[in-house]
């Protein structure tokens, strides 16, 4: 368990180092994701202990965004300065993007598993 937590942290650390060293546009954790993927590919599977740690973190992924979400309060004044354009833009653009991307992927990717939420 502890070994796999160390592995996850090491992947992120190597990712952070790589972004600094090569000035990639990707953040460290995303490069760390690629590294952990490579580890699983070399091992030919996801070890049970790694799954135990990783899936626990992922099950609570929403929680991890709460502190950053509360940070929005610090920008209340900036938001308020141009509240209407900002709010219209965020709601409109996000919904249009979700619909267009989902529609495009469904059109191009025939025959996947389907479901409703």
């Amino acid at each position: 368990m502890l070994n796999h937590l160390t592995l996850i942290f090491a992947c992120q650390l190597a990712g952070e180092a790589a972004t600094r060293a090569f000035e990639t546009p990707l953040p460290g954790p995303v490069i760390g994701m690629v590294l952990l993927f490579a580890y699983c590919a070399v091992r030919g599977g996801v070890p049970d202990d790694l799954a135990a740690v990783g899936d626990t973190l992922l099950k609570n992924l929403s929680l991890l965004f709460v502190p950053a979400g509360v940070g929005v309060m610090a920008y209340g004044a900036l938001f308020a300065r141009e509240a209407l354009p900002i709010i219209l833009s965020l709601v409109g653009s996000t919904l249009v993007t979700i619909m267009l991307t989902g529609w495009l992927m469904q059109r191009l990717n025939r025959g996947g598993a389907t479901g409703d939420e």
């Binding site: 709460v66 509360v70 610090a74 920008y75 900002i86 996000t94 996947g112």
Partner: protein, 238 residues
């Protein structure tokens, strides 16, 4: 027994208070979400954030003081992002089969996200700094802040916009996809990850692992596509 005030003064300076409040607020958010039959509109992040902002405002606590406690939760965001490799690995056969569609959808989504964000704000009378800060709003926060800085926006304002975008996507995205009949799990995941990064991915993962795997990958690839393309496009236009 000590004065309540003294106890409060002590508690308000220990990181444990705001760490506990963060977990408690999320527990309330999750309970409401479950009670509402997992209706995405009752997004637990949205509820927790609203409760915490209300509480901090009432007690006159600044964000920096709050973050001293909340940072322990925030820290785990990096390792959790690394772990998105696991659903991706498990679903990789499906991902490989639809690689072309995936690339095209993410590219289309990346361009749409920036173009509509800037276009709508411009039409509604937004200033230049606001438009440039909005342009990378669908990209995961650290990358979006970098792009914003490069374009001449305000990185910190962009960070706030990114979070709000994620919450809007997680809360309303599933309904929008139902409305237009997108039922393919891969397509639903790609849409959530491209338009609303990690917060959308968190929601997708809760519902279906295929959707979660595609969403996490779309988040990463959209960050890459937007970081490479957006500065070029803005450079040509401005």
């Amino acid at each position: 027994m000590n004065d309540v005030r003294e106890v409060w003064v002590y508690l308000s300076t220990t990181p444990l208070l705001h760490l506990t409040l963060t977990l408690a607020a999320f527990a309330v958010g999750s309970a409401v979400y479950e009670r509402a039959g997992r209706n995405p509109v009752f997004n637990p992040v949205l509820i927790a954030v609203a409760l915490l902002i209300g509480m901090l405002t009432l007690t006159g606590t600044g964000y920096e003081r709050y973050f001293e406690g909340a940072q322990f939760v925030h820290f785990l965001l990096g390792p959790a992002t690394v772990c998105l490799a696991l659903p991706l690995y498990r679903q990789f056969d499906k991902v490989r089969k639809s690689a072309l569609a995936l690339g095209a959808a993410i590219l289309g989504g990346s361009l749409t996200a920036s173009a509509t964000a800037v276009g709508i704000a411009w039409a509604a009378g937004g200033g230049r700094e606001t438009l440039l800060s909005l342009a990378p709003k669908s990209v995961t926060a650290p990358v979006a802040m970098g792009i914003s800085e490069q374009l001449g926006g305000l990185p910190s304002l962009t960070a706030a916009m990114v979070i709000v975008t994620g919450i809007i996507g997680a809360a309303l995205g599933p309904l929008a996809l139902n409305l237009i009949g997108v039922k393919d799990w891969a397509a639903r995941g790609v849409a959530m990850g491209t338009a609303s990064h990690g917060i959308g991915t968190a929601r997708a993962l809760q519902v279906n692992e295929v959707a979660g795997a595609f969403s996490g990958l779309a988040m990463g690839l959209n960050a890459l596509a937007t970081a490479l393309l957006l500065p070029l496009i803005v450079g040509l236009m401005w």
